[in-house]
Symmetry: C2
C-alpha cells in the first residue's frame, strides 16, 4: 500500500547562489545526491540560514555540506554536520554502496572523515561548517540549540531515521525547514524509512513546501 | 607582579580508573601534558562525568581526550572535544611547538584531526568522545548544553583563552568542575593567559579544589 502524497505547496525559495566552481565541486564530491536535489537543499538553506544554525545528519564525504555550507556562507550562518563517519549500513565493506577508497587501509573500517575534511577545505567552507563526529543519537541526547533547518540523510533503517527525526526535529524553530533525502513513496524506488519520517512529519503538522526527486522540504 | 595564589582546598577526587594499557596510550599520544597532570584531569572527570556532558577545548592529537574519555566510559558519560584541528599559534609550521608529522603534506597546513581520530580509535573511546571540528568561538556561540566539566586547553593567547572561558564557562552547572591547563603564576615558567583565566574564575566565585603541575581544577 502506498499512502497518498499531498500536493507540494509552492514556496518561493530564493534562487541558488553558488559559483560554477562550487557547483562543480559539489558534483565531483563523493556521495549520492543528484545536482537538482542538492540545489533545492541549497535554496532551502538560503531561506533558513540567517535565522539560526542548521544541522545535517549524514555528512559522509561532504557533498551535501557544500550545498548547505555555501548557503551558510552567503547568509552568515553555520552548518553543524553530524556523522560518526564510519558509514551507514549500506556503505560497509561488502555492501552495495561501499566505496573502497573510503575504507581506511590501516583498520579496514570505513572512514569518510578525511574525505569530508578535504571536501570542505577545497570549497573554503571550514569557517561555516562544523563537523560533529559521533552517532546522531548520542549527539541529539545532548543537543539544546534551536535549528533553522534540519536535513535528515543519516542511517536509512527505520530505527535510525525515526531516531534522527525524534532527536533533532523537536529543535526546529517555528518556521524552520525540515529537508529529508531519499523519500520514495513507492517501495519499488527505494527503502521506506525516510518516507515514513516524511509522513510522520506531515502528521506532526509540518507542511511540504518543495520537492525535487527524492528530496522533500517541509516547514514547521 | 605575581598575584598571590590561594591555597588549594583539598577535594577527595576518586582514584584513577585507567588500565595500564590506557595509561600507556595516553603517555604515547602526541601532546604536551605530563602524566601526573593527565591523571588529575582523569580523576576530576570521574567525579563529574555522571552528572552531564563534559567539554574540552583543544583536542589536538587526543592525549587529554584519553584521560577524560576513560572517565566518561567508566561513568556512562560523554566528552565533547572542540578543536578546529588546524593547530594553535605555537603549533604552526616554523613555530616552536610544530610537529612536522602533524602537517598535512597535501596542503602544508597543520591537521591534527587524523591523529586525534586514530588515538581515540586505538583506545576504543569513539563511543564516548565526540569531536566537534570548528573554532571554539563559533561553537560556543551556539552551545546551549549544561556541562559537568569544562577543560580549557585551547589557544593560549589572552584573547583566545578569555573567549573560551567566557563562551563555555557560563554553561558549567552548579558544582561543575573547571580544569585549566598551563597555569603558570610565574611568567618565567610560561605564558600568562591561562593563569589570567584562572584568576578570573576565582574572581567569579569558583574555588580551587586540586592542582598538579600546571593543571588546576576549580569548582563552581
Amino acid at each position: 500500500m502506498v499512502a497518498p502524497v499531498p500536493e507540494p505547496t509552492p514556496l518561493s525559495l530564493p534562487p541558488a547562489l553558488m559559483s560554477a566552481a562550487d557547483r562543480e565541486r559539489a558534483r565531483d564530491a563523493r556521495g549520492f545526491m543528484p545536482e537538482a536535489e542538492g540545489l533545492l537543499l541549497h535554496r532551502a538553506a538560503l531561506a533558513a540560514a540567517a535565522r539560526g544554525p542548521m544541522l545535517e545528519i549524514g555528512g559522509y564525504c561532504g557533498k551535501s555540506a557544500i550545498y548547505l555550507g555555501c548557503a551558510a556562507r552567503e547568509r552568515d550562518g553555520v552548518l553543524f554536520s553530524v556523522d560518526h563517519h564510519r558509514g551507514s549500513e549500506e556503505n560497509q565493506p561488502g555492501q552495495l554502496y561501499c566505496d573502497p577508497e573510503v575504507v581506511d587501509p590501516r583498520s579496514g573500517r570505513l572512514d569518510s572523515l578525511p574525505h569530508f575534511r578535504r571536501t570542505l577545505e577545497a570549497a573554503a567552507l571550514e569557517e561555516w561548517v562544523i563537523a560533529i563526529v559521533g552517532t546522531s543519537t548520542l549527539v541529539s541526547a545532548h543537543w539544546r540549540t534551536a535549528l533553522s533547518l534540519l536535513f535528515i540523510d543519516g542511517g536509512h533503517t527505520e530505527e535510525a531515521a525515526e531516531a534522527d527525526y525524534a532527536g533533532f526535529g523537536r529543535h526546529l524553530d517555528s518556521g524552520g525547514l525540515l529537508a529529508i533525502h531519499d523519500v520514495f513513496p513507492d517501495p519499488a524506488d527505494g527503502g521506506q524509512a525516510p518516507y515514513h519520517v516524511y509522513l510522520r512529519a506531515l502528521d506532526d503538522g509540518l507542511h511540504e513546501v518543495a520537492a525535487t526527486g527524492s528530496m522533500r522540504v517541509l516547514r514547521r
